[in-house]
Structure formats: C-alpha cells, structure tokens
Amino acid sequence: MRGHGRREFIKNTTMAGLGTAIISPELLLEKTKTNNKVKKVIVAGAGIAGLCTAYELMKRGHEVVVLEASGRHGGHVFTVHDGLSDGLYGDFGAEHFTKPGYEKYWEYVKELDLTALPYARRKNMVRRIDGVFYTEEMLADHTVLLKMGFNDRESSFLSQNPFNELKALFINKYLGAFTDEYQPFQVGLDDMDRVPMIDIYKKEGASPTALKFLGGQNVSALFELWQAAILHLRGVANFPLEVYRLKGGNQMMPNAFAKKLGSRVWLNSPILEVRQGDSGVSVKYRQYKGEKEMSADFLVNCIPPPALRNIPISPALPPEKQYIIKNLVYDSYQRFVFQASSKFWVADNVSINLEFDHPDLWSVWHSADEVDTHRVIVLGTGPGGISVGRALAAFRELYPGKKDTIEQAVSRDWTKEAFSSTCERLAFPIGELDKFWPGLMQPSGRIHFAGAYADNLNWGMEASTRSANRVTKEIDEA
C-alpha cells in the first residue's frame, strides 16, 4: 500500500466490490483465470454436454466454436411448445433431475438463474402388474405382497421401503466396498464382472417373483453393484421419489448456455471428417451446402458414439478406443404428449402417475402444471415405431378412471432421429468392464470426450455437466 493513502485504499476496495457485483461470472473468471495459454477448441455437438463444455472453456478465456449437425441445439434435452395450447409444453427428451445426485447440474441451475420445480411424477404411483393395478399402499401390504409371491423377508422389506428399492435388500451389503465412485476395480469384487447380477440376487435369496422385477440376466454383478454404489455414495436412492424439472422445460439450460455462447454455436454444420496431429486437430464440416475446414488445438467430442461412428478420424483412434466407440449401446424410446381439457383423473379420484406395463405405452405422468390454464399436459413413454393413435388407445383401454378429456396427442420418436436418437447408455457387456472403464473418459491425443456417455453413471444431464467440467480442466491445464 505504499504510495496509497487510507482514503484511496477504501475507494479502490469499494470500486472492486462494486465491480464484483456487476461483472458477469464469465468475466470474473476470465480475470481470475490461471496463466494457462489460450487454446482454440472445437466442440463437436451442441447437446447439453457440448454447450456446457464450450461455456466453461469460454469462461476460462479459451477460443471455442461448437459445431452442431442439426438445426437446433440441446440434443436430447428438448422441450416442445409448438402445437400445444395455452402455453403448455412438454419435455420430449430428458425428464427430470434429483437432489442430491445432480450436484453439478444444480450449480448451473443457480449460476444461470433458472427455476427448478418439484416434479410429482413419482408420487402416488399406481402400477399395473400382470393386468392388475396396485397403489403404493397395496405394494406395502404384507398380505398383498405375499399373495404376489414375495417371500417373508422381501415382504417385510417392501412394507417399510418403496417398491422400486427392492434391490437394496440384496445388494446394500456389497456397496461399502466402494469408496471412490470413479473406481469400480480393486475393491475386492473384480471377479464379479463375469457373474450375471441375477446370480447374486439368487445367492442372496431372492424369490422368483422378486427376480421377475429385478432382472439382471444380462448385466454383470460388478457393473450393477458399482452403479448402485455411485448412487449410495451420492446419497441417492436407487429410484429417487423426489425429482425436479426446470420451469419452462429442461431445455432452458441448453438455451441458457447457448445464449452465453452467442455466435460461437454453429448449427446445421455437421462434421464430416477429423484429422489430428501432434500439434492440433483439423475438422472438415459442411455449412451452407459447402465443405469447409477448421483447425484448432483440441477437439472435444460431445457427439454420442453411435453418430460418431459415421465420422472418419485419421489417424484412426487406438483399437481400445475404437472398441468402446463401436460397442457402447443405448436405449431409446418415444415420448407421447397428451393435451387434455381438464385434470380428468382428479374427478375420477385416481393418480395420473401410472405405470401401464403395456407394450404400446409404458407410463404416463402430469407435467407443466405451473402453466396458467385449465388444460393439462400428460406425458408418456413408450417404444419407438408405435403410432400416437395406438399409444392413446392403450391409455384409454387401461386408464383406471371413468373417462379422459384428451383433445390432442403428439409424439417424438427418438428411434428415428438422425443425430440424437440415444437416451441412456446401457450396461457394458458381462466381463468387459475393464474394456470400457475408465477408457471411455480418457482423451485420445488431442481429442477429448464429454457427454452423457462419458461419465461413471448414465444419468444424462449430470453426466454431461460433470464430463464437460472434467474435459475443460484437462484442456485448460494441458
């Protein structure tokens, strides 16, 4: 403070405080960023992971461009208003997030000034099992459970715990072995990667009825226990009942990232080819019917592996990485949106959170309830390839109330989408955990990997934001 009087110090401090209040977070971070060299980074794919990665890199002062193949950003996080009345909307893709369990995602809810709303889609659930509807009370009733074929131990457990927590009865004793959610190996369970999970359930005394609900024929015990341990370490239930969504739709977050990024996000610019060398990467892409090229220091792949398989990379990725890209598998589905003129289920005194166990329509729930209208949105999930009419017919066949007031039904069939058909990453094949993990997270030369697929757990929006931050750190510190 030599050369500065007390008055000047107070003045400067006050100005700094004022500055802190009005400088946006990215400018603040830019001012406080480390002395790392500014890098030029191409981000492939403008889903939530690509946008989050680009946002974080931008905040650290790096030059970034996001190349997106389709004409919209957001990928599988997709909220639709078009065609729905009174300002109603439906999340056609990513549905909800939890607390705890989505720590990184929640940080962005706060940072981007978004509003999270409690989502009652898992409250008062009614399940149709073997053609019979069961309320939560029924599925906690000893007599009912025993009649369904559960044994005494299972029945006692389910009378004290939610129905979808059944597997905790058999696996919780194994979970204490895991202490680092990113480390499934060397915790004394490595051999279990070659054991189907169903064998563990059987060993632990699961009844045939319990096995019917637990599955596990096609998943390794180590993988399943590791995934459960991640939830355990995060303090989340296997099937959290308290879930949330963003007011205005979950696409509000990708929209907010994209707004921050501005003209750095290039839509309708599919990547055709990637080349990488010792000092940088080069990307050929299509834009306005012409083919162009761009060079950068790094490429961050946020394209889901099934779409990445169509992009030549030279020199080819190492065989181990290629194996991962080729063999990661996903599920997909169709989201149905039923618009009704009233909360018809209230008049019928039944829950609208229904699991149908019907091949054309798996489940339905109420959404967008904060919109000021008497109309309502009921969302549903079912398989790809089913017409909206058949899904609605399934609803009308099975709805346990008197009658509905559905006036419109629309859908998005993700299985038909060219670039973002993938929903959640599925389990790795039995006995192959070490082929996929941790390799799927690791960079290959100057290509880094982020996305719903590139983290330990397949909960998409959290995996995307977590992996985006991991990659940002890798590149920032490179």
Partner: protein, 237 residues
Amino acid sequence: MRITILIFFIVCGMSVSLYNHPNDPPQVKITKPVHRDTFQWSSLVTYDISVTDTEDGSSEYNEIVPEEVFLMVRFLPDSSRLSSYLSGQLDPQPPGLQLMKQTGCFNCHAKKSKLIGPSFEAISDRYTDTVAASKNLALKLLKGSQGVWGEEKMPPNPQLSEEQAGKIIAWILRNGADKQVNLLPKLRGAFETAAKPPQDPGRAVYVLTASYLDHGSPGDGSRKKAATHSVVLRSGE
C-alpha cells in the same frame, strides 16, 4: 353454355389425366464415393445418396423419407466374381426386406452391430432356420418381446399379418448370417471396411448398391417402382 360445358370437360379431363398419370420411376445415385474409387482396409467409408422422384420429390429438398433409402454393401474378395455378381445381383427389394424397411425395423436394429436391439447377424447366429424357430421369432415380432438380449423391450407389430412376420423372419435367418453384406438405411452414413486378409491377391472390391422404392402415384399407387444405383470400390493396396 356450350363454352361452360367445354371448360368443364377440359378441367375434368385434366384432373383425370393427372390422377391416372403413370408412376415415374425414381432416380437414385450414389454421389459419394464415386465408381472406381479405391478403399483402404480397416477404414471408414462415408457415403451420400441422392434420390429424385417425380411424385415423391427430391432428397435435395428433404422430400424423401431418409429411412426409405438403403445402401447394400457387398464385399467380394476377388473381382473376378464382380460381373457375375452384378448381373445376378440380389434383388434389393425382396419381400421380407421390403417389409422390414416399411415396418421401421432398421430404427432399432442394424445388420452388423447392436443398436437398441440385437443385430440381424446376431439373431441369425443364435437361431437356426427351422420351422419352430421361425414361428417363435415371428410371434415375438408380432407380440413384442423382452429379456432375451437385454432389458430393452421389443414393441409389438400388430399391423403385420402372420404371413408378413414369417417373411421378415425368413429374410433375417437366411441373409443375416452373410458377413460379407451390410445394409444401411438413410441418405448418408458410413461403413467400415474389413481387415486386410493375410493372403490378399489385391483384387478385392466392395459393391455399393443404393435403392429406393417409391410411393407410386395417385390412382396408380399399387404400382410402386424401385430404382438402384451401384458403384464399385477397388482395393487401394
């Protein structure tokens, strides 16, 4: 009055004429790669297909449903078999495959790799082409299935008859196992070439055949027409 009647007949005649216009065949072209391009072993080949049809429109303007365009990729280890293959080339629209394309099977299944469901090669490897297996699989196709390959649910296909389901299963079981053939939907995509055989005489080729079956024309709808276009890629080594 006479003029009015004349105009009426002219207009009606035009309408009838348009309505009965015979269906023009589509035009299909593989724009990338081009004929006689070379391929490298163990590498990705990207392709682009264009389709133009008088009634259905043009792929350039997104008027062609991408899922209705297919590329068949056939590997021939020796180009001496090329002319016999091209002259007697597989029908790109056999009944079973045509039904599969219309039913949307390729949204969830691929010829060689697992998508949401198992690959057709894996199905063909697991099941022998017997009457019992065919009936069992046709039933799964009609009614839906779960738990055989994973936890994912296979939806039912009530729009298919038993006979149609049988044709689809027959195609899968008889053609799925052919490892030298790949089938890819959509106007753009990529396939991976094989690893170089140890005793490669340098005469291997890939034959790429794009196909499209149009929707017919109003009043002539049952007479759908197909078109194909083939290019041959030669080994670059």
